[in-house]
Every structure is written in structure tokens, then in C-alpha cells.
């Protein structure tokens, strides 16, 4: 059943430039069919929107962030989140959201510094305000921010940490590392998986058996302890960039197995199909068959696997950095930010320190939804 469909599909592809068409009625490509199927999955569409938004924000972190993520404001350590308000203390409605000013007072009993909301001062929120300068992609200097308050008034949307650094800006900048580590890692896993899985499926015999045993072995060992061991082996003296790439590589070392399994399985089943046999009998070389027939046919399945591997990598990086053996400050990632939530006494008083975790959860959830939708769309000929 599937074979005949794929054959028509391939002839359609191969003869696309010919003057005649086999079917006049419907000539959507495989990818168009998949897109159609994918669009029906509402959660997957929502997940895609969230992910696109996240990656756009990560790309333009300097612009979206309201402050410099490494700027310390000793005066404003552990400021609670300042959520924008529409209605002021007197119950008056404002079209433009605003935040109140902050004044620091010392608690007469505990001698602790507390922040008191100063209801007499209102700082309206504005779009495209000028603030701290940053560089866009390291090239264009700018000081325009998506939103913020004018002047030097304190505005910490999601509060500040122990050193008075703005959590919102740090989370936005942390997205750059946390979201890209999954992409780069999955790219390495993809190459490893394609190469090893393809080799296994193509060569068969002893090579296949050895590779299959290796994959079973890698799946059956607990990953986090091994990641911990590998990660602890990275010298602390390494630069942030070097550690970043090392972590990506070691996350992919244990993550390529799923891709390899899918690739091998598809290689084996497609090898038996008529259209591959036909291509070979017409003198198609091995490489021709692989690139022209095999890869286009299983690419969608590989995509599904890949989209479901990314969240595992994001969680891996977050866990390692949280334990203090992944990325280390001054690098900013969501895991690094969560490190300061390790102390319960601190967190109990300052729950906003847990917020980076929320972003991890949203990103992982979105990837899972998209992966789910892709799985449904991977075989548009089913049903």
C-alpha cells in the first residue's frame, strides 16, 4: 500500500518538469500535504508560534531586554517583580500601563532592607524607549528597547537577584544559550545518527549487529550520571564559549541513538521497496539511491525524532548548569539562573528566582507539542 503511494509520489517528483502530469486533480507535494496535516493539530500550531516567538526574542535579546543583564544595582538587590498596572491606588484607570517607584527602607525590627512601593511616583511604560546601549548581532550599536520606562527609574519586570541584576533581562539573554544548545546539539546528533544508522542499515551483517548492540547499550545506561561525569571533566578554566560547545557535544554523544534507530529501520524497509529496486536495476548508483530515494522518504520521520530530542537536550543543559557542572557564571543560561534557587531559605522569601524554570517548562512543552504534530504529519498518506 505504502509502496505504491510512494512510487507515484516519486514519479511525480521525477517528472515534475515534464510537460504532462499524471493526475490533474490534486498535485500537492509531500511537504504540502504534511503542512496541511500539521496545521490541523492546534497544540502543535500554538507550540510553533511560541517557539518562533522565543527564538525571535533570543535573537534580539538586547532589544527586548529592558536592562543590561550584567549590570549590578547593589541598591536594588532582591527587588520583587514590578508588574505593570493599569489601575492606580486611587482606583483611577490609566490607558498606559505604569509601574510605581521604589523606595528602600530598613525594617525597624529585623534591620533587613525592604522595598516599599512608592505610590506617589508613577513611571509610565513606553514602547521603543532609549536605555542602556547594546549591540545587535554584535554589529549595530543601539540603545532603543522594545519597552521600558524613561529615564533612570528602576524597572524590574521580574525582580532582581542577589546582586540587583534584572531577572527579566537575564532570562531573555539566557534564552540565547538555553534555546540554541538544543539546536546545535540536535544537529550533531542528527549527523551522528544519519551516519551511524545509515551505515548500520546499508552494510548489515556484523557491522549492523555491533552498532545495534552499542545503541541498546547506550539506551540502557542512565544518562544524567554519565553527563555529570563528562561535564565535571571539563576544566573550569575553559572559556564560556568552549564550555558551551563541549556541553553540546557531550549532550549529543548519548542522544544520537534514536535518530540512528529510525534511519536504520527506514533504510531496511525502503531497501525492499519496488521503486528502490527499480532505481537500482536502471543503474542507479548507491549514492543516487540514498540521496534521491531513501533520504527524501525518511526525512520526515527523522524530523519528528529530532524535534523530540531537542527538549531532552534543553533539560540536560539546564540540569547540568543547575548542579554547577554545566555552564558557569558569568555565562547566562536558564540553568545557571536557577542555581541561585538552590537555597530554600532564599527561595522561600524570593520566589521569583524560580521564574527561569517557567521558561524552561514553556519551551520544552512547546517542543513536545510541535513534535506531536510533526508525528501526525510525518506520514500524510495514512488514513
Amino acid at each position: 500500500m505504502e509502496t505504491t503511494k510512494q512510487t507515484t509520489e516519486l514519479t511525480h517528483l521525477d517528472m515534475g518538469t515534464e510537460p504532462y502530469e499524471e493526475l490533474e486533480t490534486e498535485s500537492l507535494s509531500q511537504w504540502e500535504l504534511m503542512w496541511r496535516q500539521f496545521r490541523r493539530h492546534r497544540l502543535a500550531m500554538a507550540g510553533s508560534v511560541v517557539l518562533i516567538l522565543f527564538y525571535l526574542v533570543a535573537l534580539s535579546a538586547g532589544f527586548v531586554a529592558t536592562q543590561d543583564p550584567v549590570q549590578r544595582n547593589a541598591k536594588y538587590a532582591y527587588t520583587p517583580p514590578q508588574l505593570p498596572k493599569f489601575i492606580d491606588a486611587e482606583g483611577k484607570f490609566h490607558m498606559r500601563p505604569f509601574v510605581y517607584g521604589l523606595t528602600q527602607e530598613t525594617d525597624p525590627d529585623t534591620w533587613e532592607k525592604v522595598y516599599v512601593v512608592d505610590h506617589t511616583v508613577q513611571h509610565p511604560l513606553k514602547l521603543f524607549v532609549r536605555g542602556t546601549p547594546y549591540k545587535w548581532f554584535g554589529l549595530f550599536q543601539s540603545n532603543v528597547h522594545l519597552f521600558g520606562v524613561e529615564g533612570n527609574a528602576p524597572f524590574f519586570l521580574l525582580g532582581t537577584d542577589a546582586l540587583g541584576r534584572d531577572m527579566f533581562s537575564r532570562i531573555i539573554h539566557g534564552a540565547q544559550i538555553s534555546l540554541s544548545i538544543g539546536l546545535i546539539g540536535v544537529f550533531i546528533s542528527l549527523i551522528l545518527g544519519l551516519a551511524i544508522g545509515g551505515l548500520s542499515g546499508l552494510l548489515g551483517g556484523t557491522v549492523d549487529i555491533v552498532i545495534q548492540r552499542l545503541i541498546e547499550f547506550l539506551i540502557s545506561i542512565p544518562h544524567i550520571p554519565f553527563w555529570m561525569a563528562l561535564s565535571a571533566a571539563l576544566p573550569a578554566s575553559w572559556s564560556a564559549i568552549k564550555t558551551y560547545f563541549a556541553i553540546t557535544v557531550l549532550l549529543s554523544l548519548l542522544s544520537w541513538t534514536e535518530v540512528a534507530r529510525v534511519v536504520r529501520g527506514k533504510f531496511l524497509s525502503l531497501r525492499e521497496t519496488d521503486f528502490v529496486a527499480a532505481s537500482i536495476s536502471m543503474g542507479g548508483s548507491n549514492w543516487w539511491v540514498i540521496f534521491k530515494h531513501l533520504i527524501p522518504n525518511f526525512l520526515s520521520y527523522v524530523l519528528v525524532t529530532v524535534s523530540l530530542t531537542i527538549p531532552g537536550m534543553i533539560l540536560g543543559e539546564t540540569s547540568l548548569s543547575f548542579l554547577g557542572i554545566g555552564l558557569r557564571p558569568p555565562a547566562i543560561s536558564w540553568g545557571v539562573l536557577l542555581q541561585q534557587a538552590q537555597n530554600m531559605r532564599t527561595v522561600a522569601l524570593r520566589p521569583w528566582l524560580l521564574l527561569p524554570g517557567l521558561f524552561v517548562v514553556i519551551a520544552v512543552l512547546a517542543f513536545n507539542f510541535v513534535g506531536d504534530g510533526l508525528r501526525d504529519a510525518a506520514d500524510p498518506y495514512a488514513d
Binding site: 545506561i221 527538549p311 548542579l323 524554570g357 517548562v361 514553556i362
Partner: protein, 331 residues
């Protein structure tokens, strides 16, 4: 069946050997070793460390020997004497530390595994039978959250909530007065009252995944003809589900023990660090950072070896329940 058991068991030998090589290499990867940091500490205390002293220490810890010799020696002593080497930092045999920590890891992992299945199977069946019902949506939402919330974060949030709103500290496995007490009924009860937190936290992700698997296979089965037949012959719906559909739908979720168990052991390692449990996780992290190589190596090895053996046991169990598997494998 016997030949299947034999073949699978024999395959364990090369697997465990490969594992031992892998752990040893991983543990030996970091530049420098325990001595480097040890000597730095000594020098910081003002102790002058001479060349001869360093050489003597290197010899004592066998660090002057090449990697493969240390490996062979380590493995031989484990196999022959059950001796896992000496922890440098704790100045104790690794075996003692293993015996102290590993049982708790195993208790938590195994109870988590059992709880995962006890929860996932009925919930999966319920969700499939009442598809698109209110309860189904609730469980699906919980399921997705369980997939997306990293276990350490869940542990943090739970600790936060209990600390902030109930004034309870939910870390550890024992209350302070029982921590070093000898075993008795009261201590055991105390352990049970602490055990549920790590079990829920560690089991959340796996349970969520299994619910989804169970739900989808159950949905597949419910639409099949034999279920209709069972209903049309007048069988009560309860038995149609439990005796027919669920029986078949259960196989795929039992066969995924292979990845559930490693995930649980992984999760336990990190949750234990957050919740400060007296299990292998915190000590593993500590020994990795201190480059206490025999300790970390032995922990890594035994944790993984037990996971692999656990997977083997569950595979054998599955082959015993479902004959199709052992026939497939023998082809």
C-alpha cells in the same frame, strides 16, 4: 524460553565489560587527578611537599601506572574480591560507601518504577475509555506538564510550597532524630513518611509518558473487532475492558521498561541532590568534583550495571508473559 534466558544473560558479560571500560575512561578524562588538588590543599596549609613525597603518594595511589593497568587492576579486584578500591577523600573503602548509599537508591528507584506502572495503567485505561471527557483532559494536561517539568524543578517547587505554606522541610529521607538511629519500627515509619516525595518527583515524567502510551494503544484496541464481539456476546463492559482490550494494550507499556528504568535512575540522581537524600546522587556529584576517581567510577559503574540488570530482568519477565517476544528474538 531457556535458550532465550541463557542468550540474554550471556550477552550481559560483554555489556558489563564495555560499561566498566566506559566508566573508567570517563572518570579518567579530567586533567589532573585527586593528588593535584590534595597537594594544593596541603601546600595551602603550609605543608611543604617534596618531590619524593609526591612520588610516594603517586605510587601509593597507583597513579604512576598507565590507565589500562589501573583499569585491569580495578576490575580484577572487583571481580575477585568484591573490592571497589579506596575512596581518597573519605578515606574509606568504596564498598562501605556503596553499601551505605546504594540500597536507598534502589528502594527509591524500584518503588518509583512500581508506582509509575500502578498509576499509568489505570489512568491510561480511564483516559482511553472516557476519551475527550473532563477527566481525560485533566490527565492529558498533567501528562504534558509531567513531560516538560524537569524533575529537579518539581522538587524545588514542592520544597518551596511546603516550606512556605506549611512550614515543612521535605528534604532528606529521615527526620533528624532518626538520621543515625538504628533500624526499628519507628525509623522505618519515618522513612516511609519521607519516601513519597522523591517517588512522586522522580516518577512524574515517566508516569506521564506511560499514560500517553497506554492511552493510545488502548484506543487502538478499543476500536478492534474482537472488542465488539465481546460486547455483542453480552459481556459486561468492565470485563470487556479488563479481560480483553487492556490485556493486549498492556504489552507495549511493559516493553518500555527498558527506557523507563534508566530515566528513573537518572532522575533520582539529580533529585537526590536537590532534596538532599542519602543516596548515590549527591555523593557521585561530590566525588566527581573532588576527582575521587575510584568512588565516582564505582558509583557510576554500579548504578549503570544495576540499571542494565534491571532492564534485563524486566525483558525476561516480559518474554515470560508474552511468548511472541521470545519467538521473535530467536528468529
Amino acid at each position: 524460553m531457556l535458550s532465550y534466558v541463557l542468550r540474554r544473560t550471556l550477552l550481559m558479560i560483554p555489556t558489563l565489560l564495555l560499561l566498566s571500560v566506559l566508566t573508567f575512561v570517563v572518570i579518567d578524562l579530567p586533567p589532573g587527578d585527586y593528588l593535584t588538588s590534595y597537594i594544593t590543599t596541603l601546600e595551602a596549609q603550609g605543608v611543604r611537599v617534596t618531590e619524593e613525597r609526591v612520588a610516594a603518594l603517586r605510587h601509593r595511589y597507583a597513579l604512576d601506572k598507565p590507565l589500562y593497568q589501573r583499569y585491569a587492576n580495578w576490575l580484577w579486584r572487583i571481580v575477585r574480591y568484591g573490592d571497589f578500591g579506596q575512596s581518597w577523600k573519605w578515606e574509606k573503602p568504596v564498598k562501605d560507601l556503596l553499601l551505605e548509599r546504594l540500597p536507598f537508591t534502589m528502594v527509591i528507584s524500584i518503588s518509583t518504577l512500581i508506582m509509575t506502572y500502578l498509576l499509568a495503567i489505570p489512568i491510561g485505561i480511564y483516559s482511553a475509555v472516557n476519551q475527550y471527557s473532563w477527566g481525560d483532559y485533566v490527565f492529558t494536561t498533567i501528562g504534558f506538564l509531567g513531560l516538560a517539568v524537569p524533575s529537579f524543578l518539581l522538587a524545588l517547587v514542592l520544597m518551596f510550597v511546603f516550606f512556605k505554606y506549611f512550614g515543612l522541610s521535605i528534604g532528606g529521607l529521615f527526620s533528624p532524630q532518626f538520621r543515625d538511629a538504628p533500624w526499628d519500627i519507628a525509623r522505618f515509619k519515618d522513612l516511609l513518611s519521607h519516601l513519597w516525595t522523591p517517588i512522586i518527583v522522580v516518577g512524574m515524567g515517566g508516569t506521564a509518558k506511560l499514560i500517553r502510551v497506554m492511552r493510545s494503544t488502548m484506543l487502538d484496541e478499543l476500536s478492534k473487532d474482537y472488542v465488539q464481539t465481546a460486547r455483542s456476546k453480552g459481556l459486561a463492559e468492565f470485563f470487556v475492558i479488563t479481560k480483553h482490550a487492556a490485556r493486549v494494550a498492556i504489552n507495549p507499556i511493559i516493553s518500555v521498561v527498558g527506557w523507563t528504568l534508566p530515566a528513573i535512575v537518572s532522575g533520582e540522581a539529580i533529585v537526590a541532590i536537590v532534596l538532599n537524600l542519602p543516596t548515590t546522587g549527591p555523593l557521585l556529584l561530590d566525588s566527581l568534583l573532588a576527582q575521587d576517581m575510584y568512588l565516582s567510577g564505582s558509583f557510576l559503574f554500579t548504578l549503570s550495571a544495576l540499571t542494565i540488570i534491571g532492564t534485563l530482568l524486566s525483558d525476561l519477565l516480559l518474554a515470560w508473559i508474552d511468548p511472541r517476544i521470545r519467538y521473535d528474538a530467536s528468529e
